[in-house]
């Protein structure tokens, strides 16, 4: 039972409550750094580290943090982890760090992270909070990667810098520029809507058939 519960918390972040596609949170880094798949993954990993670390701390301290100043406390904890991530990336992969630029410190301002602390970590025990954070962060990483891959393939004709289509391919420059980010995410959300409608229709059909069968 216990095992099941934490698995539930983990899996819901990846699909049913995906922070980007379903809750539409954390959009700013989402769109700004996804012009190539490598940047998207670096950003996703950094966010993963920050979210899991701060969920762990917030959940451990949840009984000591006074209600009135909780948001400031959460933010200081998050900012600490972001500073660590910032300097780590600078030391390990200076090139990626340079390309992401100001967007690494801006992880602090990712509303998804603060949202998880407020909605989940500050109310539940450490184990569940960490599982929830890992699920949400994986969902975020997945979303970043799919968006980054689509934009790089269409806008550059390449994935991870490897040419895919040969030289006759005319890259859609617009996909790498800012409007491409909005358009791609819009189309992905459209797909998610379509999927949800199909599922609802299917469930309605099943329910109708069952009623018919019984009556």
């Amino acid at each position: 039972m216990k095992q099941n519960e934490s698995y539930e918390e983990f899996i819901k972040g990846i699909w049913r409550d995906n922070p980007v596609f379903v809750q539409v949170l954390g959009m700013c880094p989402m769109l700004a750094v996804t012009n190539s798949a490598v940047n998207a993954i670096a950003m996703g990993m950094a966010t993963f580290f920050v979210l899991v670390g701060s969920s762990f701390l917030v959940s451990s301290f949840r009984n000591w943090i006074p209600k009135q100043v909780r948001i400031s406390c959460f933010i200081i904890i998050i900012a600490t982890f972001v500073t660590v991530a910032d300097y780590t990336l600078l030391a390990l992969v200076p090139k990626v760090h340079k390309e992401l630029g100001a967007f690494i410190p801006l992880i602090v301002a990712n509303c998804m992270i603060l949202g998880r602390q407020e909605a989940f970590s500050s109310r539940y025990p450490v184990r569940l909070a960490v599982m929830d954070a890992m699920g949400m962060a994986s969902g975020f990483l997945l979303a970043l990667f799919s968006l980054g891959a689509i934009r790089e393939i269409l806008g550059d004709g390449a994935l991870f810098g490897i040419d895919l289509f040969g030289e006759n391919f005319e890259p859609w420059i617009i996909m790498i520029l800012p409007p491409g980010g909005f358009l791609t995410l819009g189309v992905i959300l459209l797909f998610f809507n379509w999927f949800r409608f199909k599922k609802d229709e299917f469930l309605a059909d099943v329910a109708a058939a069952e009623r018919g069968g019984n009556g």
Partner: protein, 192 residues
């Protein structure tokens, strides 16, 4: 003087925070369903930005030269306290507005446009006046984008659009088109 004007125009149009840097998207998509709310949120954000610019300058000049690694934490603490102050003020003065903005008011703190402003201004080494002008341009640019999107969304409420398109998907595509339009302003600089 010329320099200040360019900083203003650049933050307002060419490098619009929302449509070019993707900063402050959460309120951009979440609150932009009515013109009035978005105008007020825009004003509140502009005000917080001005205060942030002043605080960032003070911190950069007097405190952070001794401890640059504390920059992020210092910025965020100052911004968070400013926002909490404004929140209390609005709650006292206009409960209706407080209700209208709901969860997005505390989230101004995590509005990346505000922290982004402080970080960009620091990275570019702006002085006091430049910082203020930059904040003003960015704030008005943010309000402009918010109000534009809100206007378009209010119009689209009345028209008959496919069921699938309703909601965030369509807002993002509208934002994409707006962003394309704003790319046209890039020509302002090359002609100068």
């Amino acid at each position: 003087m010329d320099n200040l004007a360019w900083i203003f125009i650049s933050a307002l149009l060419v490098n619009n925070f929302v449509l070019t840097y993707f900063l402050g998207l959460c309120p951009f998509l979440g609150v932009s369903n009515s013109l009035e709310t978005s105008a007020r949120l825009g004003l509140a954000t502009t005000f917080v930005m001005l205060v942030t610019a002043v605080c960032a300058w003070v911190l950069n000049t007097y405190v952070l030269i001794y401890a640059p690694y504390l920059r992020l934490i210092c910025f965020i603490v100052v911004i968070a306290s400013t926002v909490q102050f404004i929140e209390m003020l609005i709650k006292k003065l206009s409960p209706a507005l407080f209700r209208a903005m709901g969860i997005f008011l505390p989230l101004i703190t995590t509005n990346c446009a505000i922290l982004g402003l402080a970080i960009f201004a620091t990275n570019r080494g702006y002085g006091f006046m430049e910082g203020i002008v930059y904040a003003l341009g960015a704030g008005i640019g943010f309000t402009l984008a918010l109000v534009l999107l809100a206007g378009l969304r209010e119009e689209s409420e009345l028209s008959n659009i496919p069921r699938l398109m309703k909601g965030t998907a369509m807002n993002l595509i509208i934002a994409g088109v707006l962003s394309m339009a704003f790319m046209g302003f890039a020509g302002l600089f090359s002609s100068a």
